[in-house]
Each structure stands twice: as structure tokens, then as C-alpha cells.
Symmetry: C2
Subunit: 312 residues, 2 copies
């Protein structure tokens, strides 16, 4: 029996993870976007509705991350029917939690389920990347890959990306805060210097390498030492009032590390399970000091990637 | 019985390993330096002789990497006797094979054996770093740490360096060539731009991360993809005639990667055991095309670090 309707969920993601600008990201499955794909008589791709947003998003498929992901998929795997998409945003817009990537991934996964010969998950990656690029203006995989595959994911390359899941020490939790403020990805990108000091690069690479070795070897002391972005975070910290204080508070409460999620304004900390609540409270207090309320969550690092939640 | 004479061997090392400028290095145990330390009546540190060199090296202990390493050790662990050092250089001077580091490490290990309460190997690291700094003008651990500990070693930090051994796929061999030409470390450092493009940094970090993930996961395809220094090597390649051709030849013969060892002029390639001889011959041919003869070796990656070879 051919599938007529499929709904997929794709999780939020923490991009960069501090030390891995544009190359690392991890899933954060407590929140996410859902996309429903349904066969239609009319050919082509159509977006029927978008719910869960306070501001309008483009309904034209080629200008919508979910729509473009499906257009890209169908260009490779043509179908003799149309597809109608219904998008349910669970991730706040402009939060730095990978909402564009989650919609693109969920759409690709849902539409894929309608195909007579569905692609494997990894084969959907280029289509999700093409979808996400509609929002970010460039092709990046650091949110798309973990939203699709789950876990902590390293991406090497863009045109033919190789993605690898990195093991994460099981005792670690992620505290995630979304302060109620607006910060455009464009501004967060625009503040970055095009040239960086080689000496800073040596520190950043040492930290990235130590972070990865700490993950592979389950070495929390090394993780704690290495979990520090000396390259990007210092340039963006001033865009998020309360972040420097929240980071100090997180470290003071025992966090292994604390940084900005993607381009912000959301911020995250990794910590041992027993300290997670204290770290969250300390960070919330710092943002309250700036008059900023926050959504907040605690969850294991990584977890499942996108999945079909309805199929008939 | 107190030890009166100890001789230590410390291996040559490949610094940077392409993707890990100033933070990665691996031992190469086929060649190395030996340092003999002997108790003497006269207090202080004295260098009795240096053999195996074509040009004179400083005999004044504070200006000699081996001497300074022992001075640093004795400042922490004073002894009621003097120490005489005899240095046997097995690593060509100015080759980019970590000769300064090997002498500093071998001296620290040999002198340590004379102590009533010898330090652990890791505790010798700061003293070996202090010794090596006499030659390089700055404190680096990317040669010292693998010469001391063996294996492929990551160093995070300098003042309180954390070192970690990274597993290497057992099937891999290192082809090492030392072309007979002079290249000063100072010139090789001087050619580097102080500022680098952020876009290059993203590529370099992706490659470093892929390289490490490839090592941990024994993923040769990922190693091959990631084994490319886009940051430092392009700036130094022109200092070593024949290197660009040797690199192309190595890749063509199946090498996983090929780059400059430390500051050069030695160059190295990682390859699977079965292709090592072909890779070596291809690289030798490229240097011959520039009229450069080479010393050459093939050995497993890493291997043992410094060790006592005589003790009485």
C-alpha cells in the first residue's frame, strides 16, 4: 500500500557547540518541528499552513526551508503526484536553535516516506541542506546533520559532506536557555571578523581537539579544560545581554562549558547530571538581572534525530 | 644502590602532523638522540661532548636544549652532586624531525634516573619543554610530548599542558623523507601570516576534527578526506623545492595524506602498510627531480617514547 500521509518530527539543535564553528552540532530532542506531507492531485509542492509562529513565514515553496527541501528531493526522485505540506513550528523563530534546519529536515523525511523507493537518511542530507540554505543564505550542515541523524555530529565538507557521530559521555546533560530577545542570524554573522589571529586559531584548534578527545575517551576533566570558544564567542558575546554573566554563573555552578547556541541568542551549558538544575538556575538568575525572561530545558546531549511519527 | 650513570634514548617526532599546527605530534622511533647522564664530583651541569653533528652546538648548559632541560629539572629536584652530559645526536640538525626536543627529553629522562626519587614521565614534561625552548625561542610541546610519551599526542595548553595519546589505526605506516637542504625554523616561522581567513579556519578545523574522528574510529576513508592542512602548509610549501611534486606523487601512490614535518624541510606521508614502499619511491623521485637527495625511513606511527637504555 502506498503511503498517502506522513508526519515527521525533527529536533532542535545546538550548532557550533562552542568549539566547532560551522562543523559541530548536537540534537536537542525536547523540542522540535513537525511537518506533515500528503499526496495531492495537483502536481508540485504546496504549503497548506504553518502553525506555531508569531510572525508569517513564506508560503511559496521555493522560499520556505521545508518547501525547498522537498523541491530538492523531488528533483532527484520525481513523483507522479503533488505534495502538500503542513508545518508545525515547535522551535521559536530566530532563537539559534536550528528551527530552519528542523523544518527542512522534517519536510524531507516526511516527503521521503511518500516515495515508492524512499532514500536512506544520509541521502536526504543534501536536500535538507538545500532547504536550510533558503533561510541562512548559505549551505551549512552543522544544524541539519544532527537534526537528521541525532547525536553529536561532525560535518566535514559541504558539497559532499561526510558526517560522523561523536560519542558523548553519558553522564552529561545540556542546559538550554532561550532568552526572549531578537537577534538576527545576519547580524550575528555580520559581527564576525573575516580575519583572525593565528595564535587564537592555535588555541581554538587545541580546544576543539581536546573536546573531541574528551568525548571519545569519556574524560570530563579534559572536556572541562577544552570547552572554551576563543574565536567566535568573544565577538558575539556583546550581542546577548546577560550572556557573559550567565556563563560565569554556569561555570561557578559547575558546568563543564557554556557558550552560544548557533548564532544565538539561545545559550547552552554542558554539565554533569547532578549539577544541571543548579546550572540552569544560576544562568536564569543572570538573565533576570538583565530583565530577560527565558524558556529553559534540560536534556541529554544528542538523542534521536528526525523520525516519522505518523504514516498511513 | 644509587644510579651513577644512565643513558636515555628519545625518538624523532613529526610535529604538526599536517592538521594540528603546534598541538599534534607523533613519535618516529627509527631514529633518535641519546643522552648519557653521569654523576660528577663537581657541582652543577656540564656538557662533556656532543657527537653526531656536523656543526657545533652550544656546550654551555643554559644555551643547550639538553643542558637546560636538566637545569630545569634540578631547580625542582636539587641533588647533592653534579651531572655530566654526553649527547649523541642521531637526528639531523635543522631537519624538522624534533632533534632539539629529543635531546631535551633524553637529557631529562637520563638525569631523572640519577635522582633518589625520580619523577614520573609526565612530570618531566615542563622540564623538557623548558629545554626545547632554548632552541626554538618559544615553548611548544608538539615535539616534546610525543618524544617523551610515545604515540600520537595531542597537547592542550602550554603553562599547564594536558597531553593525551590519540589511538592510531594499526594498519598505517609513516613514510619520512629528509631532503638534504637547509631550512631554518626561524624562516619557516617567519613566512607565516599573523592573520588568517576565518573561512580557511573552518576548513582546517573540519579537517582536524575529521582526522581525530578517523583515528578514534579507525575510519581510513575519513582520515584520507580530512588529512589536508589548508592553513600552514600552503604558506611553507614554496620553501621546500620538490615538496608540491612529492605530495602529488604520494597521493597518486595511495597515501592517506602528506605534509611537512614540523617546520620542515622533512616531509612525511601516512599510508597503508601495503603502499608504503611505493609512496616512498614516488616521493623520492619527486625530490630527485629537483636534484635533492633524501634520507628516508618507513615506520609505524607513534611507538615508544623516551626510555632508559643503560643504567648502572
Amino acid at each position: 500500500m502506498p503511503v498517502r500521509v506522513a508526519t515527521a518530527f525533527a529536533p532542535a539543535t545546538v550548532g557550533n557547540v562552542g568549539v566547532g564553528f560551522d562543523i559541530l552540532g548536537h540534537a536537542f530532542g525536547v523540542i522540535g518541528d513537525r511537518v506533515r506531507a500528503e499526496r495531492s492531485e495537483a502536481p508540485g509542492v504546496r504549503i497548506r499552513a504553518i502553525t506555531g509562529v508569531t510572525e508569517p513565514l513564506p508560503l511559496e515553496p521555493a522560499r520556505n526551508t521545508a518547501g525547498q527541501a522537498v523541491l530538492s528531493l523531488l528533483a532527484q526522485s520525481p513523483v507522479p503526484f503533488g505534495i502538500e505540506l503542513t508545518i508545525e513550528k515547535g522551535i521559536p523563530l530566530g532563537s539559534g536553535l536550528g528551527g530552519s534546519a528542523a523544518s527542512a529536515v522534517a519536510a524531507a523525511v516526511a516527503a521521503n516516506a511518500l516515495l515508492d523507493a524512499p532514500l536512506r537518511a544520509e541521502e536526504l542530507l543534501p536536500h535538507a541542506i538545500a532547504g536550510e540554505a533558503v533561510a541562512s543564505g548559505a549551505r551549512h550542515a552543522d544544524n541539519v546533520a544532527p537534526a537528521l541523524l541525532g547525536g553529536l555530529v561532525l560535518t566535514v565538507g559541504i558539497d559532499h559532506p561526510r558526517v560522523r557521530q561523536i560519542p558523548v559521555p553519558p553522564a552529561i546533560r545540556c542546559v538550554l536557555l532561550h532568552p526572549h530577545m531578537f537577534l538576527s542570524t545576519r547580524d550575528a554573522r555580520g559581527v564576525l571578523n573575516r580575519l583572525v589571529e593565528l595564535s587564537d586559531v592555535v588555541w581554538q584548534t587545541a580546544h576543539l581537539a581536546g573536546f573531541l578527545a574528551g568525548c571519545y575517551a569519556n574524560d570530563l576533566a579534559l572536556l572541562r579544560e577544552a570547552f572554551e570558544d576563543v574565536l567566535i564567542e568573544p565577538q558575539r558575546a556583546k550581542l546577548i545581554p546577560g550572556f557573559p554573566a550567565a556563563k560565569r554563573a554556569a561555570r561557578g555552578a559547575g558546568a563543564l562549558g557554556c557558550s552560544i547556541s548557533g548564532a544565538g541568542p539561545s545559550v547552552f551549558a554542558w554539565c554533569e547530571e547532578g549539577t544541571a538544575a543548579a546550572v540552569r538556575d544560576a544562568m536564569l538568575g543572570a538573565f533576570q538581572g538583565e530583565g530577560l525572561a527565558c524558556d529553559h530545558w534540560i536534556a541529554p546531549i544528542g538523542g534521536d534525530g528526525a523520525r516519522i511519527v505518523e504514516c498511513r
